[in-house]
Symmetry: D2
Subunit: 348 residues, 4 copies
């Protein structure tokens, strides 16, 4: 009954097999191996973007911060929500890799921004002239940090606002697959067809060991990214093992199957909680649920074997001290039975 | 009728004379001259802090950013208001000098924070652990960017909150003198006696040419600050001309006289505007007034020779598009007659 | 016949098995899992340092740059040789992670420095005062980038010079195991017993997939390192897979066995080359050989299936344009037969 | 008898008068005043470059570091000599402002580089690929830090090498006027006509109080420089006082007259020292002399009232411990009589 995070589960066997299969003989290092080229082509195909720049790194924070560093100058600011992973959970990594750019927070409900809140935030900065931080880039997260989703139309509307101000748009896709599965759309539809310039295409949370792809739809950035990745100490020497993970992940649509499994388990959990009268902070849409429960109830569930986080701090805080928000995340390896047993505990 | 800023006016004659008097013969550079030592002692005396580290720089942004860089690590965050100069008007200078620290915004009314909003902001960050930016320092501005003042009790209450979380407190005193004059308190009372650890003691806006003092009440920081100042390209070779300004500024209490003059002109202006039915955004307390007037009225006043800024953007925005906030700042050189003529224009 | 690098070979089966064994069930992420604690204890035991701070990252550059960032302030300089990996092969990663510290180059023969050259370099900087970069740290590489070794006495003499100037000493141990195997010493003897303050303990080049340990003998740095690692995007979420590699690597002395195998293959190659009259740039001491051969001979060997790098540039340059330096590196997986076949090609 | 530095003397009266004349009434701040526009035009005229971007700052280190930050990316390296001010005397300011670029040292004799040493240094870096720091820019100093000069042909030859590698060239002109006076050339001839892309045009060492101009011959950089200057805390609010200095400095060719005076005093001193049998480290060419004298002789001269620096460290070191290098610098205010009295002391 582990719902603490989708990075707590095992690597999927198909991906382990791909790693094992790659473990043969000598190849050139730093990505100059055939497997890497193959993985890059698979990602280009997935995104229907034959010219895309695709680079692999091992952590989502690396993908986010390195992409943002190619988009925002040190004297600029990046627009994101107060709950954005890049703001709240990366210990100033974007600031390090951009050389000191600022993050401007806008939008709150369900960790989403709207065209209005984004437009106002950009405009507000705009008039202060040379003394102010300058607008630099927009960063969206899909699935959001509150488990909600932007529709394709919402993504298009937000990127249109960004484009109107000449700002590039980054998509933090740590749970990209879960969003595609939930929306029933393609990777292309959720990115360049919706005006996204670059995406952190996550693998780690969805059954990989440690791999994320930075995908740029503008090929001009390739050389700069390569140098930034190396300088950030994020260029793997034995690069084939990153590539093998991606290969196993994309083979036969595994990436989407795993996301569907995770989403289904979260839906099962949400249905059960709702039936038990539990209140949600936002309507669950993918593989992550935020639910309010009395403090004592959390204690009972955890004593009974439920593993998940509760939070006292804002914005996790319920309406009073006694109601705490619990975060429940499912990865592909959570079983129907795990959820059933937890729900019995809830209703028990 | 110049109210655009208190950095638009001339240098006071007593300060010009001090510069001229310093312009004689050869002395060692980089602050190893007798005049610098003298200026340092005058500032220590002013602050009743014989052990204080006192360093001169030429811009307020340099004083702020360099002080903050000794207080906050690159993985930490500095608590300030959304209108803080360090956030809104320094083009990411604190981020540059700290190596990428973040600024966390809290409190809004009149550009002030309260113990409650500060305490909540610190606590909120606190529970996120290693993945989050860490609490680093608190930065207050006195006179605030909205022309309001913290009382000594308010300063003490805020610094107590900071201290309870082991955070040092910086005071941006670009208008330090105006605050002392308005509160009728000493420099010591407004700083270390109120729990402030370091202050940017401004000279430029109050009749100097280009000089600010960074004053630390903990002497341990001296060597680090010296290296940071040099590395920031803020160590003057012909240092005596910074020292001379400070000497002229402090001689016979000139600094306080000039601030009183500026405050009085602003009070005269506020009284006249209020009599004319003009609405203030906050109650004016020092030498800066934010007043709401119809857009057309601003146009009339400017055509008539009033020089000041109006702003469309939030938070300068009035309740509707037609009411714009105007910012009126007085320096020591604005005359009673200047204000009278402007008020005639208003009532005219 | 692959001698291009020791990062081109496969992961050793024992390490692959450790990874596979770790792939079971849910555990807490970010290093809060039992396997990580176990790997840390194994490393502490190896170094006979029960209080050491041990942290895992995935690249050698990350280990080096993050360790150095805890040792050198942005206004300081790090003493290393002109061939040091941190200077020549990390694309300014140390500069990024330290926030702009400088690297001062000293010593050249065989990529080693001597107490004299180090002492002079430190002293030379020292007298310039506040305007100059300040001495910050010393970084040594063992095995050096030219395949040579410091004796334990040499390490002690260098760290004594550093200590006399209050400088901490970092050891880049990307090939740490090869050095221990060649010197027949313990990990403790080559580090804290020789005056080393922190070491990048390499795994990747010696049969792991992607893991290096940053080991600090002073426990005080733990919290700072954790925050720097996270901010550098080098904290793995599925941390158990780093830990498993280390576990498999250290189990039953595998780390030393693999290094011995690599060293023996290099010795076999050196013996054969010497017999064929080939000249070495430095006397080979571990698993890396730099040999001068005519340009045409290199072409013949490569056409015949030898895979390795030659270099035109200084310091790889031979005495004339026609003699080029070739770099031959053996990892554990190079076979006796590989070397034999290559030597037949040479003498062919 | 002050020869310690050319930043130890007074401001020239014509420049003081220009400052005093500027001290009248209110003007807009941050450079939006008529005097600044006028100073900019005077500098453009001086450089025969009507489109040049001209920005004023208060320190030479600021001019150097800010210019270089527009030329070199954080993953690049800047080629300069080991004695370059940007390397040896700016406490890592270039590293701070570039975000961590490296400095690659080349050339030593008389603090000059040659086309050969520069070309080799660039080529050497070039072949290491993505793992190495990338070539970024070239920085020359004129007058050099050893008081020597590049001829116009030497400047052209160096900039040709840079251009062949697509590298921009910066000229550190802290003593620009002394070089123009010594070479009898125009400002244009020594900069864009010789292939220089941007110059730090010094005022402070040559009779100003604190002003340097950053001059770019490519206008495209203007916006970026403005943001970098503000972010570096180097944008003066009361900007007219920087402009006034430049105006006074350039008026009626004062800048060149002051440099000629300084050069003549140094020549007088060199002639006298030579006659007294003193040995020079390099042939004096402008206003700075490096002479070797026995340690005891230095002590005698200093006791007699001579003020200047001697150095023990390399490269100031003489052939043995007893011969120390003394640095003698003349500014415009050193008198013929000062030099005579000092020479009497020498021969005395």
């Amino acid at each position: 009954m582990f719902f603490a995070s989708d990075n707590g589960g095992p690597v999927h066997p198909q991906i382990m097999q791909a790693i094992a299969a790659a473990n043969d003989g000598h190849v050139l290092s730093y990505g100059n191996d055939p497997l890497t080229q193959q993985a890059v082509e698979m990602i280009r195909e997935l995104f229907e973007a034959p010219e895309a720049v695709v680079r692999l790194v091992a952590t989502g924070t690396a993908a986010n911060a390195l992409i943002l560093s190619t988009m925002a100058q040190p004297w600029q600011t990046i627009f994101c929500t107060p709950l954005a992973h890049i703001h709240a959970d990366e210990c100033n990594a974007p600031e390090l890799f951009t050389g000191g750019a600022k993050l401007t927070l806008t939008g709150t409900d369900g960790a989403k921004m709207t065209p209005d809140t984004l437009g106002q935030a950009i405009t507000r900065i705009g008039w202060r002239g040379i003394n102010a931080p300058q607008p630099g880039a927009v960063s969206l997260t899909q699935v959001t940090e509150m488990g909600t989703l932007y529709t394709l139309d919402e993504l298009k509307a937000l990127s249109a606002i960004a484009r109107a101000h000449d700002l590039p748009v980054h998509l933090d896709g740590a749970r990209f697959a879960n969003a595609c599965a939930a929306l029933g759309c393609t990777a292309a539809e959720m990115t360049w067809k919706a005006g996204i310039d670059a995406v952190s295409f996550g693998g780690t949370k969805n059954g990989c060991m440690a791999v994320e792809a930075a995908v740029f739809f503008d090929p001009a950035v390739a050389r700069e990214f390569d140098l930034r990745r190396k300088r950030g100490a994020h260029l793997f020497s034995k690069h084939r093992y990153l590539a093998a993970q991606m290969q196993g992940y994309l083979q036969d649509g595994l990436w989407l199957d795993l996301a569907r499994m995770a989403n289904e388990r979260a839906a099962q959990l949400a249905t059960g909680l709702r039936a038990a009268g539990v209140d949600f902070v936002c309507e669950p849409q993918a593989n992550m649920i935020f639910a309010r429960l009395p403090r004592s109830e959390h204690q009972r569930l955890m004593s009974g074997g439920g593993v998940y986080y509760t939070e006292d701090g804002d914005p996790w805080h319920g309406p009073d001290d006694e109601m705490l928000m619990g975060r429940f995340v499912c990865d592909w390896s959570v079983t129907e039975d795990d959820v059933d047993r937890f729900l019995q505990l809830v209703t028990g």
